[in-house]
């Protein structure tokens, strides 16, 4: 009888132990599944976001190129003087790449894009990219320009009456002498791969000459 009791006890212990092991394995598998579901959801969201951003870019690209940029007054940093957009563009011997942001735009988006732009200016020191900031407060613009003017040419315009201005993100565009907006691009936060590709394309399209030649042309112009 005693033997039976002990055997039963051991059997119960083994059964319980087996249950615990199975339970733990079940929890592990559940956790893994949740992780996979989470990853899938994030991927789906990312894909949706990507396709929506690409769609937005295509729309703005076409819509903006159907219109011209008005010849607005731009505020110059450190002086209380203005400069017409046409004068800025005509002063350059090649189309200008603009990066436009407003103070209400997502700061992380702006900073990510500026980081990429700084890399370009470091790699090609003769290449000046033009920032069009949108500060309502003049002092804020001066403070911003003071911080960034080593890397970029910076001007301020409170409102730019063009179609891409309606969306709440910073954007790139190219202007030449006729003030026709070309190559409008809205960078995607968290996915700079498209922005890198865009800047590569712009570089190839407009700044195709070799580094020395471009610098020479730039210095000769000034």
């Amino acid at each position: 009888m005693k033997k039976l009791v002990y055997l039963l006890t051991i059997f119960v212990i083994v059964l319980l132990g087996f249950n615990v092991i199975l339970l733990k394995k079940h929890q592990e598998i559940k956790a893994q599944n949740m992780l996979l579901i989470d990853k899938y959801n994030k991927l789906s969201v990312r894909e949706l976001r990507t396709s929506s951003i690409l769609k937005k870019n295509i729309i703005f690209h076409h819509a903006a190129e159907a219109a011209y940029c008005p010849d607005i007054q731009l505020k110059k940093p450190k002086t209380n003087s203005d400069l017409k957009l046409s004068a800025l563009v005509n002063n350059s011997n090649e189309p200008l790449l603009f990066f436009r942001f407003k103070e209400t735009d997502c700061d992380a988006c702006v900073q990510q894009a500026l980081k990429l732009l700084k890399k370009i200016t470091e790699q090609s020191p003769g290449r000046r990219i033009t920032i069009l900031s949108g500060y309502k407060n003049v002092r804020q613009f001066y403070a911003y320009a003071d911080n960034e003017s080593k890397s970029f040419d910076i001007y301020n315009v409170d409102e730019l009456p063009v179609i891409p201005e309606t969306q709440e993100s910073p954007y790139f565009f190219v202007l030449n002498g006729d003030l026709a907006m070309k190559n409008v691009f809205v960078p995607m936060k968290g996915d700079m791969e498209f922005t890198v590709d865009y800047l590569e394309c712009i570089s190839q399209k407009y700044w195709q000459c070799g580094h020395e030649h471009c610098n020479h042309a730039h210095n000769h112009h000034h």
Partner: protein
């Protein structure tokens, strides 16, 4: 038989103990007597309240402007006995230090990835004893230390995400601003306030548990800041809650409740904020439909509290005396002192409330201000100069 029963009992007890969940932090949550500040929104003073009825005086500190000392936006003004510290997070990305007379001391501008640099500055504090400026670097969860010459001294890792960080004695009080990334949860709620032992980096206390919203962007806040009551006591009232918390080196505990009666914000708000697909616009609409009162921009001094609350899209002001329990409950102000200062306090120190006055406004109105503002200020004001610090002294009430 007896032995077998004993063995089986022990096994059962063993498995009961095994089923206890590991890793969940339970706060000690002391429950002292908590004072209640009752506010009846229907009792707000609707006629304009003059500055002269509220304030003894307004004083001014003019900050010099030059190309190296241009403040973009004041994200935080820190006032101490000897200095003003201005944090400009996004425009100049600098900390500007002035003495109490407004003279320049140092500008810290160290954006970057290297040692002693910051990418995303979120808070500044000052250690009076060691004369060290502390900058909270958010992305890399660090505290960076600089001296008053602007030289980097050292850094310290803080293992938790937090927007605000306040040294309190030998501890750090952190306000996460409703970031659930720290995984400090209790029954599916997360801790918004954390007290950390500075040496051991262990948690001493947690408070203000919240249900994580659907997305962080759903619950936009005014980025509540700590107010100094003394060297070992700080106060904070996070947005979207009604409790004022006090932090000592040993614990964070509820000190006051701001009670709007049936219009007080409660778990209904957070449950709504957690719903799938919730957005800021929808939760704001929900809040307006119920007439919920949300208090924010809270500052506490030794004798006074100042905050605002929003109901049905309108903002109302409250000044509360801790001594007398009296209150100014105001819809609109009328500036009959200098006609130009706006009472929008961003710091409190020594029971005075610190606001900012636009140089542009003063410059444009300088001819009309000759009798009400000091000549020095008017003669030196620049159209696009740095803001002027205006200091409001409340009359006792």
């Amino acid at each position: 038989m007896k032995k077998a029963r004993t063995i089986i009992l022990l096994i059962i007890i063993f498995f009961i103990l095994l089923s206890c969940r590991k890793g969940e932090y339970i706060s000690s949550d002391p429950m002292p007597r908590i004072d209640t500040i009752w506010i009846n929104p229907a009792e707000v003073t609707t006629s304009r309240v003059t500055y002269s009825s509220l304030f003894d005086k307004i004083e001014y500190i003019q900050i010099p402007t030059d190309s190296n000392y241009l403040i973009g936006k004041v994200d935080k003004l820190l006032v101490t006995d000897d200095y003003f510290f201005v944090m400009d997070r996004k425009i100049s990305r600098s900390v500007f230090v002035f003495d109490r007379q407004g003279n320049k001391v140092v500008r810290i501008n160290k954006t970057g990835n290297g040692p002693g640099n910051y990418i995303d500055m979120r808070d500044i504090t000052f250690d009076k004893e060691k004369q060290e400026i502390q900058i909270r670097e958010y992305m890399r969860k660090k505290l960076l230390y600089y001296n008053l010459d602007g030289n980097f001294l050292r850094e310290f890792d803080i293992p938790y995400n937090s927007l605000r960080l306040q040294p309190v004695g030998n501890s750090f009080a952190l306000c996460t601003d409703y970031n659930s990334g720290n995984k400090l949860n209790r029954s599916k709620k997360h801790a918004d306030l954390i007290l950390l032992d500075a040496d051991k980096k262990t948690i001493l206390s947690t408070a203000n548990y919240f249900i994580p919203p659907f997305a962080k962007a759903v619950v936009i806040t005014s980025e509540a800041q700590f107010s100094r009551l003394n060297d070992t006591l700080y106060s904070i009232k996070p947005d979207h809650c009604n409790i004022v918390y006090h932090a000592t080196p040993n614990e964070i505990y509820p000190a006051y409740r701001i009670d709007f009666g049936s219009y007080s914000i409660d778990d209904r708000y957070w449950q709504k904020a957690a719903e799938e697909g919730m957005t800021y616009a929808k939760i704001d609409e929900y809040s307006n439909n119920l007439g919920l009162c949300e208090s924010f921009r809270f500052l506490e001094g030794e004798n006074f509290m100042s905050f605002v609350y929003k109901q049905y899209g309108e903002v109302y002001n409250v000044l509360y005396s801790k001594k007398t329990k009296n209150m100014h409950h105001i819809e609109k102000y009328q500036n009959d002192i200098d006609m130009v200062s706006m009472f929008y306090p961003i710091a409190i120190y020594d029971d005075k409330l610190y606001c900012l006055l636009s140089s542009e406004d003063v410059y444009n109105m300088r001819e009309h201000l000759a009798d009400v503002m000091p000549k020095e200020i008017l003669n030196n004001v620049e159209e696009f100069g740095n803001p002027i610090i205006s200091i409001f002294t409340l009359k006792p009430f």
